[in-house]
Amino acid sequence: VLDEKADDIEVYSTKVSCKVTSRFAHNVVTTRAVNRADAAKEVSFDVELPKTAFITNFTLTIDGVTYPGNVKEKEVAKKQYEKAVSQGKTAGLVKASGRKLEKFTVSVNVAAGSKVTFELTYEELLKRNKGKYEMYLKVQPKQLVKDFEIEVDIFEPQGISMLDAQASFITNDLLGSALSKSFSGKKGHVSFKPSLDQQRSCPTCGDTLLNGDFIITYDVNRESPANVQIVNGYFVHFFAPQGLPVVPKNVVFVIDISGSMYGRKIEQTRDALLKILEDIKEEDYLNFILFDSDVTTWKDTLVQATPENIQEAREFVKNIRDRGMTNINDGLLTGISMLNKAREEHTVPERSTSIVIMLTDGDANVGESRPAKIQENVLSAIGGRFPLYNLGFGNNLNYNFLESLALENDGFARRIYEDSDANLQLQGFYEEVANPLLTSVEVEYPENAILDLTRNTYQHFYDGSEIVVAGRLVDEDMNNFKADVKGHGALTDLTFTEEVDLKEMEKALQEQDYIFGSYIERLWAYLTIEQLLDKRKNAHGSEKENLTAQALDLSLKYHFVTPLTSMVVTKPEDSDNQMAIADKPGEASYQPPSSPYYYVDGD
């Protein structure tokens, strides 16, 4: 048996405590270590957390003295940081890591015989995707840990309908017995506590087999399409109706076939499109627009997804070849114009919805190649009638442009990572948007009764997803609260009404105090910041300043490390203070992962 304290630094405890209340997750990662060497040693602490999460706190405790992290405006933090840089005493703490994660790393010198405790707290709103919420934890201790545990408590007022926990490294019964999961009514619990022996990669090994993804998935009961919760004057409204028919789609795939798509990218695109063609429903309409230096269309107009047309589409897709340069502007405008024309000429069903899905791996470099002009053209051509989704393939692209373009047209952008599963990523994205149940969804509340509402209009509600709206009540003492959700269904218009008796709700929510009382307020703040940051991406001038000021204000008030703030951690190094800084890396600062990307070692 190898000495598990080979470095003289013994990590004797690592605890991950997650408390989820109404989809809002509050996670605390605590690691305790001791330096058993005769001299001072460096101890490092690495945590990978979801990109969608905001760090809210970090503390470092050495021999009973706590050094807290302070969330500050980025500029203010930067000044401190620069001063420290000039003294050679700083380190960035957070960087992008892989597809879904950011890595937080901090290291500190610990005197001989001293103990150190690291505690990182982060929060996130779990989003419903394909019928379930997913919480993602990366488990990667650097050594065997005497007291290792992950404890997850979930409280969902609607009741939990399913709960599962899977870890990529649990491959044998021995480790499986360390995992327990249970749920009953409104409460769910997951616990993972492997003993030292269970952690060993082999009975005589000193290294750990705990290395991989730990994923918790769950969903709530949907007896009613909506659920409103109100605590301390803040409300959250979850909306996810079941059992509605799918609205037929008119979908245009705008595909980049420029030379840079050569090789695996174009092969994977073909594979994904062939898979997607299998999933297209007969009542849908479709077309393919290919762009390189020029634009080629499969058909002159949208065609129905009849078995014959799908067969023909398959032949077309199989023959897609890469060539030329990248004319994004003309590719998109051709697709948009085709959808507009189909609607005007009533060649697609009246009660149907349109979607543009663009896949590209690079920047526009022929035709209209100025991003701002392309955005202007696309915005004007779509005119708010349908969403545009952008899939950015690989790393050599202007992702900010694709994201802005999608966001201002009611869609979103997604990276497609250039890995062996790129075709599955494409197909997975299509599945998310393949089943719109409602279009033009509008959530309405009584006038003058609410303030600071988060986004309340959505082009589409997709099966398996959830619309979340939060806000503040003007009068905390009101007795009743009413919300209407209006939308167009496949065959009818629907209005879902939710009425809440506040007195009854107060009683019902008392039992959940064991989690944390202010979760709705924090959920509201999280959602508001997230949406302000998205809006800010396409704003200019005073509007941008305004949005920035609002988001910054909330980030500081609620101690969220967002792209506008930084957390400064002061470290007690050799009695001369050193500084480290935790920033939120944006998508634009994405760095291609080293190979393998999951390699983690602070040393």
Binding site: P225, G243, L244, A490, L491, T492, D493, L494, T497, E498
Partner: protein, 239 residues
């Protein structure tokens, strides 16, 4: 189930029970002019299954069909399903939802569902809930035709046949031992029927307490007041 007929042109009501085995489907309305058909399936209390005479029966499922619109609505004590052509939408009784199209609207509000077609034909289905763990009683449904004058007089069915005027006279009022249950003779459709004054509840306006409606109760499954006999109205399926 109890049937209450507010007779057109009279300020009085007739009522009768139909006692049939659980699972039986009864034709309530068939209107050849509007293309509307309503059927109801019977459920029975869970206790005393061997003694059908003592068993209380209710409507457990209602099927509403609008043939010209290719629309079917299936209402059970659990859920409401709209079959609109090939498409299907399902709602729970917990939903408060209004479904509107150019041709019809459906409004579900926890314990009541109101469906309207075209120019004012409106049906209401009420969910009567009992304690979930009750060892005998089950949730059941009530079905009401609002504005029955909008339905055609060519309608058939246990309810539909009463959409046209019905002449009847009540005589020989005879107070029995129970003063609230006066016995009498009803002259209707050339029959002389022994009837009893009774009270039934109309839950259209007050779903929980109902409103008392005085009516002449016709015994033997409404025999004499309904066209033919009650078994003539048994159909094989809800749709």
């Amino acid at each position: 189930p109890h049937f209450i007929i507010q007779v057109r042109g009279k300020k009085d009501a007739i009522c009768f029970n139909i006692d049939e085995e659980p699972g039986t489907v009864l034709r309530l309305i068939q209107d050849p002019i509007t293309g509307l058909t309503v059927n109801g399936q019977i459920i029975g209390d869970q206790g005393n299954s061997s003694n059908s005479k003592n068993r209380k029966t209710y409507l457990g499922k209602v099927g509403i069909v609008n043939s010209p619109m290719d629309l079917r609505i299936e209402v059970t004590t659990e859920k409401i399903t709209l079959h609109n052509g090939a498409a299907q939408s399902t709602f729970s009784w917990l939903d408060t939802v209004t479904v509107t199209s150019e041709r019809f609207s459906v409004k579900i509000n926890r314990e009541a569902m109101v469906v309207s077609f075209g120019k004012g034909i409106t049906f209401k289905v009420i969910l009567h809930q009992v304690w979930k763990k009750h060892h005998i009683h089950l949730h059941f449904l009530g079905f009401y035709v609002l504005d029955s004058d909008k339905m055609s007089t060519k309608s058939h069915g246990l309810l539909g046949q009463f959409f046209r005027p019905l002449a009847f006279q009540v005589s020989d009022l005879n107070p029995g031992n129970d003063p609230s249950k006066i016995h009498a003779t009803m002259l209707v459709k050339k029959y002389r029927l022994a009837v009893t004054r009774g009270y039934q509840k109309d839950y259209r306006k007050d779903v929980h307490n109902g409103t008392q409606v005085g009516c002449w109760f016709v015994h033997n499954n409404g025999q004499g007041v309904i066209d033919g006999v009650h078994s003539d109205y048994i159909v094989s399926d809800l749709f």
